[in-house]
């Protein structure tokens, strides 16, 4: 028989449970910390590199602390073709964003609000595009674009990027509209709106944040796309095309600064859309 009283046994058990809980908690927090730094640290190192002079970048060993030397970024901006490429990337992404939203929103509305013959076929067509490596389609389009005079044009490129972004924009907007009760629109019709007025006065204000998110999504898709951009642009290179095609010729500091410039807007935009990211995917899954 044990000498411990009942109370003492209880106390010991409680302590044991607490110890286990604490251990789990510690394990949990450290894995969170590990994952967060696994993502952030490489980005930090890129920043360190971009904020160092060329000598430091090519030197050894490296300092893990940024020197806050703007030489590389300065060099990058003045490097031949960079500014143009940056501008081109922006233009192509903006075009893509506008076209994808402009075409996708009405289609998303139709999917959300109407039952019509061919609806499922249309949805299949949209989903099908996800089952194919879309950038490959730039290959035949390159030939076609030459024939119609769209070769080496940002507009042509953004059309290809729209093909990438449009399915998402249709699915996302349709889920947005599905989330807005039909009765709100019907109430507006009864109170004197026609379809367009009801859409603008009731649906649009409610869908706007989500629409912005999906626009941003389209922007990022275009901004990051490498393959089609490299195949379709020659003189009007986007930043990704420029970086890929000058990998072997450009100095390292251009690469690193370019990498930083490339990920900055994406990080920023993701921050803007973070609230919608999950509902977007939650629905796009179906």
């Amino acid at each position: 028989m044990s000498d411990l009283s009942y109370d003492e046994i209880l106390e010991k058990e409680v302590r044991e449970v607490n110890r286990k809980k604490k251990m789990w908690r510690w394990l949990f927090l450290s894995s969170v910390a590990f994952l967060v730094s696994w993502i952030l640290f490489p980005i930090y190192l890129l920043v360190v590199n971009s904020l160092s002079s060329a000598d430091v970048i090519n030197g050894f060993p490296k300092n893990f602390w940024p020197a806050f030397d703007m030489e590389s970024l300065h060099f990058f901006v003045n490097y031949y073709g960079v500014l143009g490429a940056l501008k081109n990337s922006l233009i192509a992404a903006l075009f893509t964003m506008v076209i994808a939203i402009g075409l996708g929103t009405p289609a998303g509305y139709a999917l959300a609000r109407f039952d019509f013959r061919g609806k499922e076929t249309f949805r299949m067509l949209i989903l099908l595009t996800r089952a194919f490596p879309m950038p490959l389609l730039a290959l035949p389009l390159a030939v076609i674009f030459i024939n119609v005079g769209l070769d080496d044009s940002l507009f042509g490129l953004s059309l290809v990027h729209t093909a990438l972004a449009l399915p998402f924009s249709v699915l996302i907007t349709s889920s947005l509209f599905l989330g807005i009760p039909v009765e709100l629109e019907e109430a507006a019709w009864v109170l004197g709106c026609n379809r367009w007025q009801a859409f603008m006065k009731v649906v649009m204000p409610l869908a706007l944040p989500g629409l912005t998110a999906s626009a941003v999504f389209a922007f990022v898709i275009s901004w990051n796309e490498v393959f089609a951009a490299a195949v379709l642009t020659v003189n009007n290179q986007t930043l990704t095309a420029f970086l890929v095609q000058s990998l072997s010729t450009s100095p390292v500091e251009v690469k690193f600064a370019g990498g930083l410039i490339l990920i900055l807007p994406a990080i920023l935009f993701l921050f803007v859309v973070r609230k919608y990211l999950f509902s977007m995917w939650g629905i796009a899954n179906r």
């Binding site: 009760p181 009765e183 709100l184 019907e186 109430a187 507006a188 019709w189 009864v190 109170l191 004197g192 709106c193 026609n194 007025q197 009731v202 204000p205 409610l206």
Partner: protein, 337 residues
């Protein structure tokens, strides 16, 4: 004069006939309730009157105007939805003003009407709030105020009280009644709650899978159900329907069933002439009276008896239907007058 005339409206979704030639004549300033079980087509009919749904055939007239082909915005109707549909991105004021703004009413009139209807619905202190900051009952009030503010010819309501809790529902019901009586607007109101229908309606249209079985005053609906269906839908518990295979007095020609309400029996504990000996199956005490379910020759029926009568299940009780309360129905379920 705002009458509503519904003529031979038919509607089907796919191959399901939801409305099978429905006609209704609603008088000016009348409060009509569409009553029926879930899925019988009440909302569909209401939405056709509003113009939110298009009929397959038939016409709708509001006043002298044929509106069947017009979009909702040109019918001068207002509607209160089951989930209220208060615009979440507008303040209560803007919600109520919405219809007037669409009609390009002058600012002064908008302000006047909004304030008047808001006061009427007791929400004048909420005008600056957004719908997210309102309770269900308050949202409901906003929806009604928004409908009244446009001074519509016709007010349509689709189960406007069904999302409220029981107590609030009672309170709102009384309030709606007085507000609508004062506003003198012709109203069509959809519900599946017969008590609500009885207490609100000038006239009730009882719907039965796409048809209107009876359109009449509440008392008439209760006392003289036009069909077996109406009798068994209205009243709690509903009317008893008994095959006259035992002594029931004179049976009119063509009669198939006797309809008699549970409270319309003479009751005795001793055997008497022409009384039925029934076997009590269950007894429920309901406070004001007791309710029995009983059996005779394999037919089940319900009886309400006063509290004073002491009875146990298994006992026998003697009943006779009151002569003036007997209603006779044909084999097709129609009343014989």
């Amino acid at each position: 004069m705002t009458t509503i005339t519904v003529e031979n409206i038919k509607k089907s979704f796919g191959d399901a006939d939801i409305l099978k030639s429905v006609s209704l004549d609603i008088k000016d300033q009348e409060f009509t309730v569409l009553l029926g079980p879930s899925g019988c087509g009440k909302s569909t009919l209401l939405r056709i009157i509003a113009g939110l749904e298009t009929q397959d055939s038939g016409t709708i007239k509001i006043g002298d105007r044929v509106v069947s082909h017009l979009p909702p915005r040109e019918r001068n109707v207002a509607m209160v939805f089951q989930n209220y549909a208060v615009f979440p991105h507008m303040t209560v004021f803007e919600n109520i003003a919405f219809g007037l703004r669409m009609k390009k009413a002058p600012e002064k009139k908008i302000k006047e009407n909004v304030e008047r209807t808001a006061a009427l619905m007791h929400i004048d202190h909420l005008l600056k709030r957004y719908s997210g900051q309102l309770s269900g009952g308050q949202r409901q009030r906003v929806a009604v105020a928004r409908a009244l503010a446009v001074e519509p010819d016709v007010l349509l309501m689709d189960e406007p009280l069904s999302n409220l809790d029981a107590l609030l529902r009672l309170q709102m019901r009384a309030e709606l009644k007085s507000v609508l009586e004062a506003s003198k607007t012709t109203t069509v109101y959809v519900t599946h709650d017969q008590v609500e229908a009885m207490s609100l309606a000038d006239r009730i249209a009882v719907m039965n899978s796409g048809r209107i079985d009876q359109y009449d005053f509440p008392d008439e609906i209760y006392n003289n159900p036009a069909t077996e269906y109406v009798g068994s839908f209205i009243g709690n518990p509903p009317m008893n329907f008994i095959s006259p295979d035992f002594q029931v007095g004179t049976v009119p020609n063509g009669a198939f069933q006797l309809g008699i309400r549970p409270e319309d029996f003479h009751i005795s504990k001793e055997q008497r002439d022409n009384y039925w000996p029934i076997t009590v199956l269950t007894r429920e005490k309901l406070g004001s009276h007791q309710q029995l379910s009983a059996e005779l020759n394999g037919q089940l029926f319900r009886v309400n008896i006063p509290n004073e009568i002491e009875i146990e299940s298994g006992n026998t009780l003697y009943l006779m239907p009151k002569e003036d309360k007997k209603r006779w129905y044909t084999e097709g379920g129609k009343i014989i007058l």
